[in-house]
């Protein structure tokens, strides 16, 4: 078992005929993900990679194949539109990989999703990989392994780094989840941690944060009050200068808030060990996790 996905997950890829969409669809298919349809307006009727039928609209993909999940690879100017379309067509899980979506677009789309009970992951995220179940996004399949650890991160490649080390140490994962580094995202740290806490297969989990906002602090508060499973954290951006956007639109120290030092303080005060280096995460987890 994993969080957010299961055997009933049937996937449509929006932007399947684009360069990145096409490349990663092949990777997802290779992993065994049930991708049953693709969408690119104007390409309806074609077949992607001799395997996946392409439709003009998500509505068509849903009515033909009963898909319930969408992975979005469309360019920034069309990303919010793609989310609305997937939600309107009935998808209950939407993973938006697209980087560079205007924040105001995301603010507007949020209530639309809430009204329809849709879970969004991202945008500007690597998506998720539930080993043995589904790869929804761009996390490299080669580094994951089925097992008892959950991982949630605001970052992309830093997530891979940590997953890589978990796997190397023999610690497989229930779900590896990258929630994205934008200021307004669908699924938050808190949502993910609640889900990991409730997932019986997840025995321990890792939380990779970064500067900006107070999502880590909120998670710490929840963990302190509710979580008995072992949790280890890491915060990227200790050396980031204030007022500068560190790539992610959300990674910015402003008005003295959202610093790595502050986050570390709050996490440690909540009893969550914080690793100095990515390579220290696994040892710290092993230290507190009496299996």
């Amino acid at each position: 078992m994993a969080i957010f996905v299961d055997d009933s997950t049937k996937v449509v890829v929006q932007g399947i005929t684009g360069r990145d969409g096409g490349f990663h669809t092949k990777e997802m298919l290779e992993y065994g993900t049930k991708i049953v349809a693709g969408v690119t307006p104007g390409r309806g009727g074609q077949t992607f990679d001799d395997k996946v039928p392409v439709y003009d609209t998500v509505k068509d993909a849903v009515s033909e194949h009963g898909v319930n999940t969408s992975v979005i690879f469309v360019p920034p100017f069309g990303a919010a539109g793609a989310i609305y379309e997937a939600a309107d067509a009935g998808c209950k899980l939407i993973i938006c990989i697209t980087e560079g979506v205007p924040t105001v677009d995301m603010v507007k789309v949020m209530p639309y999703l809430e009204e329809r009970g849709v879970r969004l992951i991202g945008p500007n995220c690597p998506g998720m990989l539930a080993p043995g179940i589904a790869k929804l996004g761009i996390l490299p399949a080669s580094i994951v392994k089925e097992g008892p650890v959950g991982l949630v991160s605001r970052s992309g490649t830093l997530t891979y780094e940590v997953v890589y080390q978990l796997t190397a140490a023999g610690l497989g994962q229930t779900t590896c989840l990258g929630i994205g580094g934008d200021p307004v995202i669908g699924t938050t740290f808190l949502d993910s941690i609640k889900a990991f806490n409730e997932d019986p297969k997840t025995e321990a989990f890792v939380m990779i944060g970064e500067i900006g906002g107070d999502a880590e602090e909120q998670a710490a508060e929840y963990i302190k009050a509710n979580v008995k499973k072992p949790v280890v954290s890491f915060i990227a951006g200790q050396t980031a200068p204030p007022g500068k956007r560190m790539g992610h639109a959300g990674a910015i120290v402003s008005g003295g808030t959202g610093t790595a030092a502050e986050k570390r303080k709050v996490l440690e005060a909540a009893g969550i060990p914080v690793a100095d280096r990515p390579m220290d995460i696994v040892p710290k987890l092993q230290e507190i996790w009496k299996r």
Partner: protein, 377 residues
Amino acid sequence: MNIHEYQAKEIFTSFGLPVPGGNVATTADEAVTLAEKYGMPVMVKCQVLTGGRGKAGGIKFCESIEDVRKNAEAILGMDIKGHTVHKVLITPAVDIESEYYVGMLIDRNTKRVLLMASAEGGVEIEQVAKDTPELIFKAPIDPRYGLLDHEAMDMGMRLCPGDVKKARQLAASMQKLYQAFVHSDASLAEINPFIFTPEGKGLAIDAKVNLDDNAMFRHPGYEALRDLDAEDASERTAREAELSFVKLEGNVGCLVNGAGLAMATMDLVKYYGGQPANFLDIGGSSNPQKVVNALEIILSDKAVKVILFNIFGGITRCDDVAQGILTATESMDINVPIVVRLTGTNEAEGRALLEGTKLHPAETMDEAVEKAIELAG
């Protein structure tokens, strides 16, 4: 993208917010001409992209043309927190009876635009937030309905209890500010202070707006608002090459894919006693030309003694990165050592491409960072 006060006021004006007239001057002569047009008194206000301009002596009240000339001469060219003043705003001075703070920003928690307002206007709002947070009123705005009349009025009445006329002006300005925020794709919009004159007229006499870089594609006109003089040359080149780059003071040039990993790499350089020369995220795309551009930007900094690639391939494929490194090294005269760590998607293909070159390979991040620091000397 941060824009100047005078530019923010132009946006405000186009959305109907009450702003006193004004225009910018780049010379004292121009400043005097403008001041003569408006009549005395006027304010001379330095236009730099930083706060605390008044404290730094960049904002002056002028009662005579001589004052204007003297102050404009003094302020133009002044250095304010590392920003050189190239322009001053000349604007009619108004009598102030009361001052308020009105601001909007993206609130990550509610996932909405957050209206913040306070009767403690004209001072640094961060300080108010720290010392007396109860004096700042907050209201998240439902994007489906916008800032409704009664919500704006409620906020206006909190700021001006018992004074409906002022509350109405504040409310109307808040609603216009919301329109300006949303339609200009702002990430921050502040009026500090919003003032009332002794006659009861409300005016936004200062303005601060940050625009969402991700939304520039739908505001082609906003590109002209960018102050190229205020930007570091390498940061500008990086932006034009669509690379996310921040210049730092060290000697280890970092090329990393992904913002989180880039920050963690910088942190690790510091951890091992080195100093990162920059933050650079080559982004989620796998365009080899980007790597070439990134190398050129980093190498333009003569302090850089080593290049450290830390690539974990997800959406970026290692073979593209390797190809980019090769293209770059073949076309450029690079005389600093290059440490390369490649892992992830198409890792094998990427490593194969680099075989037999002078690049220093590394297996892990820690190994790569330690090697880079060592090579930097």
